[in-house]
Symmetry: C2
Subunit: 201 residues, 2 copies
């Protein structure tokens, strides 16, 4: 049986280590790259090497950014009385794409997940408490999973213990997504949609 050149196997292994890429796709990507000029491969390699060198974590909100503090934390135009807690940097980007939120953020970089040995100390959770001066509303936008819900509850209890009665703690709305069909919605989503019903003005 013909052996593949070692470098093809080794590069395919690199692609295979990425999420959502299986062994066959990895091999196809490598054979595709073989048709690219060397300059293109050099360009790809340069960008890989620069990735971590040209990014940093904002020391305030912990978003991945080019500068510390990041451009949201330094933006004088943002509403500093509202803060939104999210699990991941990509969640922040999704909320920014909605163009409906103009407050600050706090990125936890995960959620409390005891089965995978992630407790509050493994997250950027405790320093959230030091950022709440002047904040009147804290929106908990962790995911609607067991772990995301537990994390939201944990943060709510932390704030209560602090006795911050002047600050509202809210949970991002859950319900039917736009375009969804009630017939095909799952029970949990429908239950949340009923709980979250609003009066029509």
């Amino acid at each position: 049986m013909q052996k593949l050149p070692a470098v093809i196997t080794r590069l395919a292994q690199k692609f295979e280590a990425l999420p959502g890429i299986g062994p066959r796709s990895a091999q196809r990507l490598v054979f595709y790259l073989l048709h690219n000029p060397q300059s293109e491969l050099e360009d790809f390699a340069d960008k890989l090497l620069a990735l971590k060198k040209e990014t940093c974590l904002c020391s305030k909100c912990h978003q991945i950014a080019e500068s510390d503090p990041c451009d949201i934390c330094t933006d004088a135009g943002r509403d500093r009385s509202v803060m939104c807690v999210v699990e991941q940097p990509l969640d922040l980007l999704a909320l920014e794409r909605s163009e409906k939120y103009h407050g600050l953020y706090h990125v936890l970089h995960g959620c409390i997940d005891p089965l995978n040995h992630v407790g509050p100390d493994e997250l950027y959770l405790m320093d959230l408490l030091g950022r709440l001066d002047g904040v009147r509303e804290l929106i908990l936008a962790t995911n609607l999973t067991m772990e995301g819900e537990a994390t939201a509850l944990y943060i709510k209890q932390l704030i209560e213990k602090k006795g911050r009665t002047d600050m509202k703690v809210t949970r991002i709305g859950h319900g039917l997504p736009i375009g969804a069909d009630i017939e095909y919605a799952d029970g949990l989503t429908l239950a949340r949609a009923l709980e979250g019903r609003r009066s029509l003005d």
Copy 2:
């Protein structure tokens, strides 16, 4: 709206240029890579840079290989009286995985496709004729597509013009794949399966 660090966007564009990776997956891959140590990114970059430097095209069969001629063309144990013509390097690998073929190969690097301006001269087709001394059977294993069929027919006519009556030209068998359900098979596959029926011994 928060702008992503430029290097993230640029690296995501590199992934997006690969087949089967959309803009969202590309972004997810980049954020995944951010969690890797720099040494891992350096390793990935090294392998990208080495890809074309450590591979070559075999000047005989045109397979992508580490040495020229490749290890199949130099293997004294292979049957030199049979040659199998395939479209792509990955097709050769698939046939090798079957462990049922022990002859030589010829990789065309494509098929005749007039709509995309690929004619016989854009393929490694003409030098196939110079490799047929001593070959008693030429198996045409191009794909069962319009273009693959046209390529097989073109090669068959070339051989006929050469007057090589001592050499058999065959087409790889088409029919139902193992495990397939006749009920769900398409008409073309069933037609080919009927044409290719064999007597039970």
